[in-house]
Symmetry: C2
Subunit: 300 residues, 2 copies
């Protein structure tokens, strides 16, 4: 089924203990789509500057993605530069140039309005609301957010939360949002605000699904070599939502399986800079990874 | 089979966001035994002061534990006092009174020397070496350690590591010890120093087993209420070693199952102060917990 993502499109420059890359493909919408397009027709809404080389996204087109919602604006593309520490859970942002992204006002093309699944990547909650007003009636609407919106735009965020089915955020964000250190209590508080489904991302420690008063926990794929984790959360979300849209079911079994696929697409992403490993990904490689992943915590 | 543990016996005073307790049963040997005695005959070697009420350990005796290796010395028992933050992963030590533990020189009773399984809890590595010299030939010898020994007594620790089959330590400790941030690489480095089996504890994020060039990962049991995590690592080790000693096998299947039991005994421990929940534990409750635990990450 059709899956719409609205988010950023960027060039990322990243320095890690293992090397560095300049102007790699980045942005939440691209990280998401690089994973979700493995599973289902993905529609992208975002903005780039005149300097963006749209042919870099041909790999998405080849997987059936629809890029007609990407607007080219006068000016430069959003750029982010960051440096990871030896402990790659810690990174410093060296520079953020919002450029054309600063005035991003998502316009959903008419052909996208009937999208069955919708992912609102991490953008201003007011923009997320505007997107919701433009689409018909997706079967599942999910949103991502971050501390900046939680701390400074809480009322907007609460408004959009009341209208979505699912939220995906990391452990420090949910603690911040709910002022609760216990993740069980925190997730319950979130469901009282709207979403039935809460996914808590814990980076290298895996992820937790809260749905239907039940918890489901998955460890991350333990990697011997993490080259660049930038965008891992979005590629997790892409694998997760892509799997759900493909199977067009929102039951507990599908959600759990989707978590496993999201874990694997995120693991691939981390193994190389930018979008390199997701660009080369095949369904065969993904299934193989899933098989080896499952064995890592299959209790005999 | 017989399982010998050598470690501390203490009175813990703990302040958490949920309450406080004075002079609760504590110490690595007691936390360990409270879990291991659920599974197998546990023999304890440790030291207490004249103020220690040995009848507090009757619950261990009732489970077949042998306390004849606990020596009463003139003076006071080891006391630790700590306060947990709202984020219970962070705690401050308010006071440490080593008392009789300061001059602990483990003497293994003759009747304990034939122990089949041995756990060297977190004590000075030179003392761990002295214990190894006193026992016959255990089928599996495991040790725990901490940053203090890693940083300041590395050569002693390396000596004892070369002689044991297994090490259990937490993620920050293994990174510190190996100067490696990647846990896969870190675990491999440790195996080159001696142990075939490496267990990395990640607290609320679960644990990782490295054995036979293979990784096995388990999430922690997600608790809605963590009352007091003091000793969780030792009760994990106790559940783990107890299960192995009971089944008297050291194959991959047994190790993996032992991890799950260790996870569950640690979860019980955290639900109340001191030894309260482990004292009341029954095999029925434990099996029930294991069943519900497994379902939390059983991929459909």
């Amino acid at each position: 089924m059709s899956l719409l993502v609205v988010g950023s499109i960027a060039y990322d420059s990243v320095i890690t203990p293992f090397g560095e890359v300049d102007d790699a493909l980045g942005g939440s919408a691209v990280h998401f789509s690089a994973a979700s397009s493995m599973f289902t027709e993905t529609r992208i809404v975002g903005v780039v500057g005149e300097d963006y080389n749209l042919s870099d996204l041909d790999f998405l087109k080849k997987r059936g993605a629809d890029l007609s919602g990407i607007v080219v604006e006068e000016g430069k593309t959003f750029r982010w530069k960051g440096r990871y520490h030896k402990n790659m859970n810690i990174r410093d942002t060296l520079s953020t140039e919002l450029n054309v992204f600063a005035s991003f006002k998502p316009q959903i093309p008419d052909t996208f309005k009937d999208s069955q699944y919708l992912f609102l990547a991490n953008i201003h909650p007011e923009l997320q609301l505007q997107v919701l007003e433009q689409v018909d009636k997706p079967k599942l609407t999910a949103l991502d957010t971050m501390n900046f919106w939680i701390d400074d735009f809480r009322s907007s965020l609460e408004k959009v939360l009341a209208k979505v089915d699912m939220i995906i955020l990391n452990d420090s964000e949910i603690m911040d949002f709910t002022d609760e250190q216990n993740l069980v209590t925190a997730a319950k508080k979130i469901t009282e605000m709207g979403p039935d489904i809460v996914i808590i991302k814990k980076g290298e420690h895996g992820s937790i699904l809260f749905h239907d008063n039940e918890f489901f926990i998955l460890p991350a794929f333990l990697l011997e070599s993490v080259v660049d984790p930038t965008g891992a959360g979005d590629s997790f979300a892409g694998g997760f939502m892509g799997y759900i849209a493909k199977h067009d079911k929102i039951d507990s079994k599908t959600l759990k399986r989707a978590m496993a696929y999201g874990t694997c697409t995120a693991a691939f992403l981390c193994e190389d800079f930018g979008m390199n490993s997701l660009m080369e990904l095949s369904m065969e490689k993904l299934e193989e990874r899933l098989k080896s992943y499952k064995q890592k915590f299959l209790l005999p």
